[in-house]
């Protein structure tokens, strides 16, 4: 019985390899919460987004870039995982949003400043301050569900028509990106 179980013909036998591959390379996760609206889980979507995350990207050079969407362990509760956007890297000066006590902050060495796209619903660096890079777990690669938003999360592009909902959405995204960039003094 025992010998029969632990043979290479049993799929369970290959579990360690599968686990290491998903842990260090790509894994698929369901995104919950509204802190990244409208980029992820927008109000128009009836189901939660499913996305592919890349973990190995963190071991390469230039792993952390501004505007990347990442997952990280919550600095306040080690059991929770958050999904946020990198706003500033170490050395940058950020103008903070209201709950934070100081108006401007220089991000310390080894830390990053993360925020959700929807500040009203987001517990982010404006609450708990800059977070250590070591807490970052993976990087968002692309959305796979719902199908009509399949693909990478890209920067705003101007649509061909100058009216209609898609044009207004693109302009709103432009505004958010510009507001985000204006609050960071890069080094």
């Amino acid at each position: 019985m025992f010998n029969h179980f632990w043979t290479w013909k049993n799929p369970l036998y290959w579990l360690p390899t599968g686990f290491v591959l998903s842990h260090y390379f790509y894994n698929v996760n369901v995104i919950s919460g509204r802190s990244m609206q409208p980029t992820l889980n927008p109000d128009t979507s009836s189901s939660r987004d499913v996305a592919i995350f890349h973990r190995h990207a963190l071991f390469t050079r230039d792993a952390y870039q501004r505007d990347d969407i990442i997952t990280l362990r919550s600095p306040e509760d080690p059991r929770r995982t958050l999904i946020k956007r990198i706003i500033a890297l170490e050395g940058d000066v950020v103008r903070t949003l209201p709950p934070y006590p100081a108006r401007d902050v220089r991000v310390p060495i080894g830390h990053i400043w993360v925020e959700g796209d929807e500040p009203f619903y987001s517990d982010d660096s404006n609450i708990f301050g800059p977070v250590p890079m070591a807490l970052v777990e993976s990087k968002l690669v692309c959305i796979i569900w719902p199908l009509h938003r399949f693909g990478r999360v890209s920067k705003a592009e101007l649509p061909l028509s100058r009216n209609g909902p898609s044009f207004r959405r693109a302009m709103a995204q432009f505004d958010r990106e510009r507001a985000r960039e204006s609050r960071v003094t890069k080094v």
Binding site: W14, P16, T17, P75, D77, P78, P132
Partner: protein
């Protein structure tokens, strides 16, 4: 037929390596320590300790004051450091009683989900006195035991 056997064997070796890696990552492993910050508890070179990763992973509340822990450095994500836990969330801590790195009257309240860490060798340790309370999510393991130096491993 022969090549089929060989490729299956090599895949099995890879699988075994993955299993060993997962054991070291999630359950526990021996590791080599270096650096003077934990003198005289741990030697500054050639010290081998056993890390217990399972306890903290299953129960993050098991960290107590006085425990030796390993954690990822908050200022350099690629480094792992070993320190002693001085304060838990909610404690009030005197930043530096000796007054070297901060005035000895300065006290801080440790925020939720954070701990205060310190090296046993205060003169040669970069710890919470420099970078403040650290997040509990950075903790990797508790130290379970140190391996008595075998004569083969002891350096002159």
């Amino acid at each position: 037929m022969q090549s089929d056997y060989c490729s299956r064997r090599s895949l099995q070796v890879v699988n075994l390596a993955c299993a060993l890696h997962l054991f070291a990552e999630y359950v526990g492993r021996p590791s080599l320590m270096a650096g003077p910050s934990m003198l005289p508890t741990l030697a500054d070179s050639g010290e081998i300790v056993v890390e217990d990763r399972l306890t903290y992973r299953l129960n993050p509340g098991s960290v107590a004051r006085g425990d030796l822990i390993t954690l990822r450095s908050p200022i350099d994500p690629s480094r792992i450091i070993c320190k002693r836990v001085l304060g838990l969330p909610g404690d009030i801590i005197c930043v530096d009683p000796t007054g070297e790195k901060a005035p000895s009257t300065e006290h801080v309240v440790i925020p939720k989900g954070h701990i205060w860490i310190s090296g046993d060798n205060a003169a040669f340790s970069r710890d919470s006195r420099d970078y403040g309370p650290v997040s509990m999510a950075l903790i990797q393991a508790k130290l379970l035991a140190r391996v008595r130096k075998l004569f083969l491993l002891s350096y002159p």
